[in-house]
Symmetry: C2
Subunit: 570 residues, 2 copies
Amino acid sequence: MLKKLIKTAKGEVKADLVLKNATYVDVFSGKIAKGDIAICGEKIAGVGEYDGLEEIDCKNLTVLPGYIDGHVHIESSQLSPEGFASLIVPRGTTAIIADPHEITNVCGMAGCEYILKASKSVPLDVMLNLPSCVPATPFETSGAHIDGNETARQIKKDYIFGLGEFMNYPGVLNCDKDVIKKLEAAHAEGKIIDGHAPAVYGKELNAYLCGGIKTDHECVTKAEVEEKISKGMYVHIRHGSSTQNLGNAKYINDKNSRRFILCTDDRHAADLKEKGHIDDALRRLVKDGLDPVTAVTCATLNCAECYNLKWRGGIAPFWLADLVIVDDLKNFNAKYVIKSGKLVAKDGEALFDASKRYLPKSVLNTVNLKELKADDFKISVKGNKVKAMTIEPGGVVTGCEIAEVKNENGDIDVKGTDLLKLAVVERHKMTGNIGKAVFKGYGLKGGAMGITIAHDSHNVILLGDDNEAMAKAANKLKEIGGGMVLVETDGETHYLTLDIAGLMSSCDAEHLQSYSRAIIEEAHGMGVKREYEAFMSLAFLSLAVIPKLKILDTGLFDVEKFSFTPLEAE
Amino acid sequence: MLKKLIKTAKGEVKADLVLKNATYVDVFSGKIAKGDIAICGEKIAGVGEYDGLEEIDCKNLTVLPGYIDGHVHIESSQLSPEGFASLIVPRGTTAIIADPHEITNVCGMAGCEYILKASKSVPLDVMLNLPSCVPATPFETSGAHIDGNETARQIKKDYIFGLGEFMNYPGVLNCDKDVIKKLEAAHAEGKIIDGHAPAVYGKELNAYLCGGIKTDHECVTKAEVEEKISKGMYVHIRHGSSTQNLGNAKYINDKNSRRFILCTDDRHAADLKEKGHIDDALRRLVKDGLDPVTAVTCATLNCAECYNLKWRGGIAPFWLADLVIVDDLKNFNAKYVIKSGKLVAKDGEALFDASKRYLPKSVLNTVNLKELKADDFKISVKGNKVKAMTIEPGGVVTGCEIAEVKNENGDIDVKGTDLLKLAVVERHKMTGNIGKAVFKGYGLKGGAMGITIAHDSHNVILLGDDNEAMAKAANKLKEIGGGMVLVETDGETHYLTLDIAGLMSSCDAEHLQSYSRAIIEEAHGMGVKREYEAFMSLAFLSLAVIPKLKILDTGLFDVEKFSFTPLEAE
């Protein structure tokens, strides 16, 4: 292999593929350069004047190293890894650092393994981090529990790249025993630990970093970016669907630029399909004034250096031939994508077969419920004042309002009011747990809706004004193995199947989008206000690490007090 | 451990050591910053406001990460690793990438092991590369032979950091089978391969790099630096005693600076003692106009990144507390040096005990000769014209002149001429090989001189006008176990012992220098012209990879023709 590569470099044998007359980004010198790029097998053999068995004329095009997404939860696309790759590879992304936090909270290590194995059939390198927060909090019922000891066992495995974003920063600061075990286990194996430390500064940041944590994707202010960079962190510039901090690029300068990388974190299929992936981040960053070569370097070499991905992220002899050929450094439209030396996408279309699905039993039929009945959704309270949850459109922080309810026959009746019943039904261990609450101002009328994406334990979350419809919705979700459901009282039931762990669909991006649009439209038809994301806004009502009031399968939770709270208002 | 570190970072417990009121170089942001630097155990816990069990007031001083020498042959100092450390650690160097090429050519793997074990008693991290060229050429007799198979066995060992400078670039270009084996073995273990490719450009450079070679310290022109950087190499800026390329720093700019690192390669004890080590390179670079923060970053973070030395080369929480506290960023005078959190040097003086010597038998008594007699140095030629070697003062490239000799009784007589007899006596395998040649213009009269440093196989190299004295010199070198010797015909014998492999002295730097000065003075007293380095100029007359004419134990070698050549001129 080395021999053929060397001979190709010397020009003694024809290259397998030559990108003729290329203009390319030299990330090492921070320059635009020119030459034929010769590829042999999966590597670049050289840049200069070369002839190839195959050639692509790159006149008027620019060749870049393939993009690396520094931190992404594939699950947020609601697509299988194969479906996800079919969208991002044609955009120029050839490697990702994946944190399968969601599916692992449902399926445990089987979730990790699934992501990895499913990715094998597509031309995308997936570096798989072991999620560090399974479950995310000790207060709820998740599908798995990966404690310090289990982390120590799993992190040893070759296929585990590192330890996923360490969200439990209070645990680090408090030297929580299990947390320390996880951190030390990762260090013992020399594996990277990704960070997540929003608005942590000063000595607290020092303490967090003393866990040996290397990255952060949560910065929102100049002071935060600068402090984290100066303390040795790599800072991700994030281009998610809901959460973005592309503005942090303003703080990049020639002296610190090597410490910035790009990521998407959570990005929906629709955004991936319509706007793009890292390519879209580049487009936006350059439009906002970032030097294009710097932007490309953040998305390639910097990320490779941060994650110690050798011979990746640059265009040079012996480096991996992961390349994207774009129209220009303004639009970043990918004309061709080359993964490990092979042409895998052209004009935005995948040339690989992304229709196959690896679907092991371990990630299917994960909605473990006993048959639910209308009475299961009765809410019995003392008095008629309750704490009603509210949510700002587009946000994930919830509020709390005191509301009056009709309290009759051991149940509250919300019909005809702006209140709805909210329930989280445990779906992993068949505990029968149902956490119940009251939600205000969503707009739904005459039925129920439900979804099996409910961060971070992904129990079933239901909203409705009708106990019968809520039970029906839950039972439907069990029947289809997870997804989204809408039940009209005395009417139709609509659903979208997320058969993989109740989080992702095994169908292709196009169909998922069309089903998704349809059911969202039905939800709005049933009154859900258009300022909400219909189903996805519900998915954060159970995320007990974000204020203020949240609902878990175990009950109503006051995040600020970090304890359960009664539904009754005092 | 992690727990104590985190608590220290939070300020809950006192740090072991605090560098109070520090101004420090933030290599991540490329800035000067301020704060107390708290150290716990071997790591930095944080920067901010801290109290320590011990404190060093750093007001008016500047704290830098400890320097890393990216490529050095300790042997060139002629000091043991302990003696070497006693000079460079007080200068601020806390880690080196060592290539024990010389001692391994004499002692084989025992040489590597010796360097590593001897370094254990001193506060200097030695990353040990396995020399890639043992022997340097197939034409001579060396003390060891590390072929591809042996490389594959050795490179697996944990204590072997990488593969040392791959000087055999023709071997890479020609896909020499054994060369390919060595390269592939290093890649299989994920270990770095250092490069050495003077004036290799274009497709040849591409081919060389396709060996997976990462660094180069031989650049001399702007074009060479720029091409090597653009092809993904790290370029060492070298501050050796004889070979320097500090001028390459002119080609550093904000876009490419991350790819430059510093090294010394070969640096004599005298230079280390009188001028310094990496500190001297920094002083010179800054004097020549390089931004001091950039210079420091080259000597620290860049080198750590190149060699994948984790948590090293920067001042940040969780990073190794290898620090040097200097007076300013102009003079770089090291006031304090901290290695792994411990104060190890103050005001240029080592605070550690560098007097111990690890001296295994395997590196002692390495001059294996049978007793030599005057007749062994007879040179029998046909006719009276010979090819005489010449050398430019200060250089290592030799020339060839046709000289007339008195040819009598089966020997040539050089007495009273400007010619000298030159001989390389094999000293490893007791083959009895003696290569003989004629050398012109060195100045020595009335005796002989010899040295056991003779690149790269380090046989005994002798120069003289008297067969008897030459034999006596060789026998003396055997007796003392290697070193330098000077024999006056009918007079005294002077010598300096290099007991470790005939390359390095077990005595301390001060004594070595004084002995060295004395014997060099004696040599000049015997006529050796002052423009030559007396003994060390001889050491390169056997280096058969540098033009033009060289002498090996196996005979006279024409480097340009890459074959042996008769002494007789045609």
